[in-house]
Amino acid sequence: MLELTAVRVAFPIAGRLVPVVRDVDLSVRPGELLALVGESGCGKSTIARTVVRLERPIAGTVSLDGADVHALRGDALRAYRQAVQMVFQDPFQSLSPRQTVARALAEPLHIHRIGSWAARRRRVAELLELVELDPGLAGRRPRELSGGQRQRVAIARALAVRPRLLICDEPVTALDAPVQATVLNLIRDLVDRLGLGCLFIAHDLAVVRQLADRVAVMYRGRIVESAPTLRLMDAARHPYTQALLAAVPRLDADPSPAPTLRGEMPGPLASIDGCAFNPRCPQAFDRCEAERPQMIVGPCPDESVACHRQNQELA
């Protein structure tokens, strides 16, 4: 349903247009939960924002069911706004501090002029039930709610207009560990129950195993590996994916805090020849600095990786 083709998004930084998302291909199918994983600053949120038209690509297209999202006007745009909704990272910032839960949930219905007054009230009650919130909370304001409750409200608000595609931008990062689990269960349930497509953005791979159908790993604006969840988790091929997996704190393993990856991802202004990961890559060799690895699909059709080591082995 959602298809990104060679999408490139750039921002003016220090007086020039710097690409932060570079030639990204991505697709989400109906009923599928695709996790997009990478360190902060790698361009995940920009992709999400481009899909919901908060940013515009300078090249490439985003399309929903074949229609170019950034060319939509009038009624088609209205329909798109209902079809695609987003849940933001920090529910405290994405909800109005002055709106009660009931008003926040009714807001999208007002905006799209859906239903009568009574129908809206019924829908609000329905939404609260959908996200497993006590109906007694309807009159509360965000500051009177816990983090988990707030994020449930934000999810309910996104679902009010019955979207087909849900974009979740690190929806649990701002929450306590035990609360994260409950919100993740809710998201997975909703995706299954309502048959939604879901683009789920995360900065670590810890939660992805149980949650996602497919995973795409991103580094400095590019997808570097994508595969069905189990394949990716159990046999990661890209050195960056391997490093992300090793960084997850595990209870069973030897509790040594040895960092798996040195340094930080260079900012968007730095120019790196060849593979963007080569300054940090433990497996880099001479070719990595000379030439950028191409994305190679295979061995299965929904697996792909961009790394010279892998390409060597496949060749």
Binding site: S40, Q180, A181, L184, A206, Q210
Partner: protein, 612 residues
């Protein structure tokens, strides 16, 4: 959570009182004034203050109290008119600029800048000179230069709104600009505009008095404070009571609104929260022993949020305090340092070396902060003063910690930054915090905390806002530092998996109490308390079958906690009858491992044993 928070609120209220009095006096003048303010009574001219005329009468026998009250009314009406015009013009210009951006914004900014360079009183004089007296001209004269602050306020709010997640969310929902503007943006502006308007009142009252003084204000005989002062001038020797009340009234209103402005302007930079000590006083008795906190209780308005917490950290050891937010982790570590709201009632003992930090006044706590105890907070960027370079911040901390000769601070700063693993410290000292990544800000924060060569380093959720790869790096750094410096480390975290990675011991905190405490490996592999089990279950397992649900704890109970019961009972799958009537104490379950639970996981305990 600043120590000065309550005091500051109190000062704000005190400053606002005269303004409130002024507004009340003006609004209620017709009701409370005992006489007609312009009725002459030459028989009673220049009467001293008495029961009939509380503030005396002027040369025409008019009651001064009534004139003062009606004067307030006149000033109030004019001030309201000036504010109404200034706010409308300012908000429209500022909001248009901030909301639309681009060239409208540039025009708005230019207008503001130009207007701000005009001297307001001279502009007012010019206008009144050209157009003559009269209330309308007065309002015009004062509003013409009065709008820019409101424009700035509106612009600032709208610009930040345009960049907020909230604005994005509304757009994604499909809200029109019109709707965003009128339903969301403008109502949010009401409170700050009101605050700022109260500050402007002082300036307007002063300007009016000044213009009256020049004969350009409200024409007599209408009462006006400035005019009253002029009228009183010939009688300064004989009838001081004429000049005093209007003079004091003007002074009070102007002073109050200026102080109020200062209250709102003082930005208490969070660095103050770190408590870099202001006084230099090396404490003696820093013999390395464990840091012991015992029977710590913290209450707000009688409600206990930390209730009898105890923990100990030996030099070179790492203790992790784990629990969900609101469980009291932060308070139980920062309260002994005096880093809590002044309204907090703190009791208990916190023994560092020979000193009980809670055994005396604030000076004891102040002396250890930033020196014997270092603190690292979650939001490093927010805690670093944005207008100082990394080097300047470090130099300050080094100077405060003492022990480094003047002029050599920079060398020590570089050493600290290197210890904290900041790459290229020689060039980074010239960077401002906002240009650093979250991980690098956290390293700067750690370097700051190390400046005093602390015996104890408290890290409150130091990595919760960071990427996993950066988290792993910061954890490794903290572990290294603990080893190389021999300091004790207290790590606060909501993530038990992260805690297990660096801590020797784990204390699990629930509802203001420690419910389980023991060696990290024990707690993680053989948890006793159901809450600890719940926390461990919620950690995503690398072996989990894809598509299975995450294991969760039942949600927290919003209800008030029952006294004399296990606080966890409402969420506990294991709860027995006893749990609802008696609170379990911390008791040993294995060597060095304690837990507060009535029901043992495997061996059931006999009800009513002698343990309690």
């Amino acid at each position: 959570m600043t120590a000065s928070g309550a005091g500051r609120r109190r000062r704000t209220v005190i400053c606002a009182l005269p303004l409130l009095g002024f507004v009340m006096a003006g609004a209620l003048a017709p009701v409370i004034a005992p006489y007609d303010p312009i009725a002459n009574d030459l028989m009673a001219s220049l009467a001293r203050p008495s029961v009939e005329h509380l503030l005396g009468t002027d040369q025409l026998g008019r009651d001064q109290l009534s004139r003062l009250l009606y004067g307030a009314q006149a000033s109030l009406i004019l001030a309201a008119a000036v504010l109404a015009v200034s706010v409308t013009v300012g908000v429209v210009i500022g909001a248009a600029g901030g909301f639309l951006g681009g060239w409208p914004d540039r025009v708005a900014l230019w207008l503001m800048d130009v207007t701000l360079t005009l001297p307001s009183l001279i502009v007012a004089l010019a206008i009144l000179g050209v157009r003559g007296h009269g209330s309308a001209n007065l309002v015009l004269a004062l509003s013409l230069t009065g709008w820019p602050p409101f424009a700035r306020l509106a612009r600032g709010r709208f610009v930040s709104l345009r960049r907020s997640a909230y604005f994005d969310a509304l757009q994604v929902l499909g809200a029109s600009r019109f709707r965003i503007l009128f339903q969301h943006a403008l109502p949010a502006l009401a409170a700050p505009v009101l605050v700022y308007a109260s500050i402007e009142i002082g300036f307007i009252v002063l300007s009016l008095a000044f213009l009256s003084f020049l004969g350009l204000g409200i024409p007599p005989p209408e009462p006006e404070w400035g005019q009253m002062l002029i009228d009183a001038r010939p009688y300064l020797d004989s009838a001081l009571w004429l000049a005093l009340p209007p003079g004091l009234a003007i002074a009070a209103v102007v002073l109050a609104s200026n102080l109020l402005a200062e209250q709102f302007a003082t930005d208490d930079l969070p660095l103050v929260r770190l408590g870099l000590p202001r006084r230099r006083a090396r404490m003696n008795g820093s013999t390395a022993g464990p840091y012991r906190v015992e029977e710590l209780a913290v209450a707000f308005a009688g409600r206990k949020v930390v209730d009898g917490i105890g923990y100990r950290v030996a030099p070179g050891r790492a203790l992790a305090i784990v629990g969900e937010s609101g469980s009291g982790k932060t308070l139980s570590t920062l309260a002994p340092l005096g880093l809590v709201d002044a309204t907090a009632q703190v009791s208990g003992r916190a023994v560092l070396g020979q000193v009980d930090l809670l055994g005396g006044g604030p000076a004891i706590r102040e002396a250890v902060r930033g020196r014997r105890v270092g603190v690292v907070l979650q939001d490093a960027r927010g805690a670093l003063n944005p207008v100082r370079t990394v080097g300047a911040l470090l130099d300050d901390a080094v100077r405060h910690a003492g022990g480094v000769p003047r002029g050599l601070e920079r060398a020590r700063s570089l050493e600290l930054l290197t210890m904290a693993g900041l790459p290229e410290p020689e060039s980074q000292v010239y960077a401002y915090p906002h240009s650093l990544s979250g991980g690098m800000c956290q390293r700067v924060m750690i370097a700051l905390a190390l400046a005093g060569e602390p015996e104890i380093l408290i890290a409150d959720e130091p990595t919760s806002a960071l990427d996993v790869t950066t988290q792993a790096q910061i954890h490794a750094l903290l572990a290294d530092l603990r080893e190389s410096t021999g300091m004790g480390l207290i790590l606060i975290s909501h993530d038990i998996a992260a805690a297990a990675r660096i801590a020797d011991d784990i204390a699990v905190c629930y509802a203001g109490r420690i419910v389980e405490n023991g060696p990290a490996a024990d707690v993680v592999s053989r948890p006793d308390h159901p809450y600890t089990r719940g926390l461990l279950d919620a950690v995503p397992s690398p072996m989990a079958v894809p598509g299975t649900r995450f294991r969760t704890l039942p949600p927290a109970e919003p209800a008030r906690r029952k006294v004399g019961a296990c606080a966890f009972a409402p969420r506990c799958a294991r709860a027995a009858k006893r749990c609802h009537v008696e609170e379990p104490p911390l008791e040993p379950v294995a060597p060095g491992h304690t837990s507060a639970c009535w029901v043992r996981p495997t061996v059931a305990r006999p009800i009513g044993d002698e343990g309690a």
